[in-house]
C-alpha cells in the first residue's frame, strides 16, 4: 500500500482521465515496479495531502509515500527514506519581459517569489530573504503560483523543473520562461515509517535493480522526464551500497528557536486579518441588519438573499472566488482579498445577531422613546442600538473567537498566518508535537483575554429587565 497526492497531478500522480477511479503517473509506475520487485501482487493507492505524507506514513495509513517527495536532512532524520530515484532541478520561472534582467535569486531583491509551501524551494527562498531581500510567498498547490505569475501578483516562481515544464506546456509554451541555470538540485525519494527500515532496505534493493535493468529509465522516458542527469544519478546510486546518496543542498538542521520569529510574525498576521475582518463584518453587518429591520420590502429581500447565500456556502469557496475568480476583473492583493472574504462572510452572521438583538429590545422601550418626541434615527442611536448591543455582545465575542481560528483558511490564498506557519514548521522538523503545542498556546493567548474582556463588559452593562 502506498500513498501520494493525486492533486499533485501529472506526471507524478494524477487521476486517470480514462478512469478517474485509477491513478497514473511515473510515481505510480515506480510504486508498481517496487511492489512487483517485493513480490506483492498490486500496489494499492491511498490519497493523502502532499504536505501530510510524512505524518501519514508514520501513522501507518500506508507503507510507502511516493509523490515527488523530496530528500531532506530532516526527513532522513525522522523517517526511513529510500535511495533517491530522480534528480530534479529547482528552476526559476519569470515573465518574458524580465528574462533579460533576472538570472538568479540575487536579481530578485524586493520582488515577490512564489513556491509551494513546505518544500526545499520554500526553504531556499526563506534563506535568500535575508541575503537578497526577496519576498517568499508560500502556496498550497503548484498551479496557482504560475497563475499569479501571469496575473502579475508575483514576479517569479521557484519550483521543480518538472512542475515548471508542465506549467509551461499548459500555458501553451508562452507567458513565462524557465531560466536554464538551476538554483539548486534535489532528489525524489520514497518515505517509510522510521520503524520500517528493513522494508526500506528491500525497497532500495528493488530500486537499484530497476536502475540496473532499465525499467526505471523506461518509466521516466514514457513520461518524458528522462534526461542524462538521471543516468548519472543511477550510476552513483548503484555504485554506493546503502546510505544517503546526497540530500539536497539546503540550509542545515532546523532548530525550533529559529522558527519563533516567523511564528510571531504569523501570529501578528492572524491577529491583524482577524481584527480587520471583524471590523468590516461589524460595519457591513450593522448595515445589513438595519436594512432587514427598517428597509423597504425589496431591500429586506435583497439582504436576506445575501445572508442566506453567504451562510449557505463554504468560506473556502468564497475565498477562491474573491481571490482567483475575480482576478479577471479586479486583481486584489492576497491580504486584502483575505480580509474582504472573511469580513463579508462574517458580516452575514453578524447581521443575524444584530437583527435578533434589535428585535429583542422591548417594544415598550421604543414607544416610550417615541412619546418623548425622539425621531426614528435618534431612537435607534440612543435607545434601541445601545440596548441591542448588550444582547449582541456575547454572540459577537463568540464570533470573533471563531473568526480568529477561521482565519487559518486564508493560507490557501498565500497569506502565511499562524496555522500555515505552524504547518511549515511541523513539516520541516518532521513532528507536530512542539509546533502544534506552540500554535495552540498562541491561539489561546489571543482568544482568552478577549473572552475575559467580553465577560467584564457584560457585567458592567448588566441588562435590567
Amino acid at each position: 500500500m502506498w500513498g501520494g497526492d493525486a492533486e499533485g497531478g501529472a506526471p507524478f500522480v494524477e487521476a486517470d482521465p480514462a478512469d478517474p477511479a485509477r491513478v497514473r503517473g511515473f510515481d505510480v509506475e515506480v510504486a508498481e515496479r517496487i511492489a512487483q520487485g517485493l513480490g506483492r501482487r498490486a500496489a494499492r493507492f491511498v490519497q493523502v495531502q502532499w504536505s501530510s505524507i510524512d505524518q501519514s506514513v508514520e501513522r501507518g495509513d500506508f507503507t510507502l509515500g511516493l509523490s515527488g517527495v523530496e530528500d531532506t536532512p530532516v526527513r532522513r532524520a525522522r523517517h526511513a527514506v529510500t535511495i533517491p530515484y530522480f534528480e530534479f532541478r529547482e528552476v526559476l520561472a519569470v515573465r518574458p519581459a524580465d528574462a533579460a534582467r533576472i538570472h538568479g535569486l540575487a536579481d530578485l531583491r524586493g520582488r515577490r517569489v512564489a513556491t509551494l509551501g513546505a518544500t526545499i524551494a520554500y526553504d531556499l527562498l526563506v534563506a535568500a530573504r535575508a541575503s537578497t531581500g526577496l519576498i517568499p510567498l508560500s502556496y498550497d498547490d503548484d498551479v496557482h503560483p504560475y497563475a499569479d505569475l501571469f496575473a502579475g501578483r508575483v514576479d517569479a516562481v521557484l519550483l521543480d523543473h518538472i512542475i515548471a515544464q508542465r506549467a509551461l506546456r499548459r500555458a501553451g509554451g508562452s507567458g513565462f520562461v524557465i531560466l536554464t541555470q538551476p538554483v539548486a538540485l534535489g532528489y525524489y525519494v520514497g518515505v517509510l515509517a522510521r520503524a520500517d527500515s528493513v522494508l526500506r532496505d528491500s525497497v532500495d534493493a528493488v530500486l537499484r535493480e530497476a536502475m540496473r535493468d532499465g525499467t526505471l529509465e523506461q518509466i521516466f522516458r514514457r513520461w518524458d522526464v528522462w534526461d542524462p542527469s538521471q543516468g548519472a544519478l543511477f550510476d552513483r546510486v548503484v555504485r554506493t551500497a546503502g546510505g544517503a546518496a546526497g540530500a539536497a543542498r539546503t540550509a542545515g538542521t532546523v532548530q525550533a528557536i529559529a522558527y519563533l520569529p516567523s511564528l510571531a510574525r504569523a501570529a501578528a498576521v492572524t491577529l491583524l486579518v482577524s481584527i480587520l475582518s471583524m471590523l468590516l463584518a461589524v460595519i457591513v453587518g450593522l448595515a445589513l441588519a438595519s436594512a432587514r429591520v427598517y428597509g423597504p420590502r425589496w431591500l429586506r429581500v435583497a439582504t436576506t438573499v445575501y445572508v442566506e447565500v453567504i451562510r449557505g456556502t463554504p468560506l473556502l469557496l468564497q475565498l477562491f472566488v474573491i481571490y482567483y475568480g475575480l482576478a479577471g476583473v479586479v486583481r486584489l492583493p492576497a491580504f486584502l482579498a483575505a480580509v474582504l472574504a472573511l469580513g463579508l462572510n462574517y458580516a452575514a452572521y453578524e447581521a443575524e445577531i444584530y437583527r435578533g438583538a434589535l428585535e429583542a429590545v422591548p417594544r415598550s422601550q421604543l414607544e416610550a422613546a417615541r412619546t418623548l418626541g425622539l425621531s426614528e434615527l435618534q431612537i435607534l442611536r440612543l435607545v434601541r442600538g445601545p440596548q441591542a448591543l448588550r444582547f449582541a455582545l456575547a454572540p459577537m465575542t463568540n464570533d470573533f473567537v471563531a473568526l480568529l481560528k477561521d482565519s487559518a483558511l486564508v493560507s490557501v490564498i498565500t497569506v502565511v498566518e499562524l496555522t500555515k506557519q505552524t504547518a511549515i514548521y511541523a513539516t520541516n522538523v518532521g513532528s507536530w508535537v512542539v509546533p502544534g503545542a506552540l500554535c495552540a498556546a498562541v491561539y489561546l493567548a489571543m482568544s482568552l483575554p478577549l473572552a475575559r474582556l467580553a465577560r467584564r463588559l457584560e457585567r458592567r452593562w448588566r441588562p435590567a429587565t
Binding site: E367, T371, L372, Q387, R390, R462, P463
Partner: protein, 216 residues
C-alpha cells in the same frame, strides 16, 4: 376656552371587533379626569390612540389644537407638535434600562429640546427632587422600587413640559401609602395647570382624586 383634550366618538377595532366604540370625553387644563372600567375594556387603547401609538378607525382626537384623524399613525416627523403636548406614563414604566434615572429624564431635554447636558441635568435633578426621588438620580432602573420607578417615569414624561399627561393604571403596583402620595402629586400637577387623564380600574383612587370620572 376650549378643552385641552377632546376625544369625539372614538372607535377602535381589532379584527372587526370593537375595542372602543364611540368614546367621547374632554379634559380641561388643571383638570384630573379618571377613565374607569374593568380590565380589557379599552382604557389603555384610548390612551395609546391619544399618544398616537396606535391607529383608530373612527372619530377624532384634538390635543390643544393638534388633530389626529382615523387611519394609520402618521410618521414621527408629522407628530412633532403632538409629542410636545402629550406625556405618557406607561403602566410598567418602561424606563430605558441602559440609562440611569437621571439620564432617563435628560434624554428628551437634550436630544429633543436641544438643551446642553448641564442645563438638562439641572432641570432633571429638580424634577426628580420634586417627585421625592432626587437621591435616586444615579440608580439604574433595575435598582429602583416600583414606586420609585413610577416617579422617575413621571419625571421623564414631564421633562419636555407637556400640558397633557396620560397615565396608565398608575396605582397598579403601589401600596396604600404610596397611593395617597401619588394622589398628592397629581393634584400638584393639576395646580400647575396641566390636564391629566388617568386610566384606572381603582374606583377608590378615582373617586378620591379625580375631578371627574368617565366610565367605559
Amino acid at each position: 376656552m376650549s378643552a385641552l383634550l377632546a376625544i369625539d366618538r372614538l372607535t377602535v377595532r381589532y379584527d372587526s371587533r370593537d375595542v372602543l366604540r364611540g368614546l367621547s370625553l374632554e379634559v380641561a387644563r388643571g383638570e384630573i379626569v379618571a377613565l374607569m372600567g374593568p380590565s380589557g375594556v379599552g382604557k389603555s387603547t384610548a390612551l395609546r390612540a391619544v399618544a398616537a401609538l396606535q391607529p383608530f378607525d373612527e372619530g377624532r382626537i384634538v390635543v390643544d389644537g393638534f388633530a389626529l384623524a382615523p387611519g394609520p399613525v402618521p410618521p414621527e416627523s408629522g407628530l412633532v407638535p403632538l409629542r410636545r403636548r402629550v406625556g405618557l406614563v406607561f403602566q410598567a414604566h418602561a424606563l430605558f434600562s441602559h440609562l440611569c434615572a437621571l439620564d432617563n429624564v435628560t434624554l428628551a431635554l437634550r436630544h429633543v429640546l436641544g438643551q446642553s447636558r448641564s442645563e438638562a441635568e439641572e432641570v432633571a435633578a429638580k424634577l426628580l427632587a420634586s417627585l421625592d426621588v432626587g437621591t435616586r438620580a444615579a440608580a439604574w432602573p433595575s435598582q429602583l422600587s416600583g414606586g420609585e420607578a413610577q416617579r422617575v417615569a413621571i419625571a421623564r414624561a414631564l421633562a419636555p413640559n407637556p400640558p397633557l399627561l396620560l397615565m396608565d393604571e398608575p396605582t397598579a403596583a403601589l401600596d396604600p401609602a404610596r397611593r395617597s402620595a401619588l394622589g398628592a402629586t397629581l393634584h400638584q400637577l393639576s395646580k400647575e395647570g396641566r390636564g391629566l387623564l388617568i386610566a384606572t380600574h381603582d374606583t377608590e383612587f378615582a373617586r378620591g382624586h379625580a375631578d371627574r370620572v368617565v366610565t367605559l
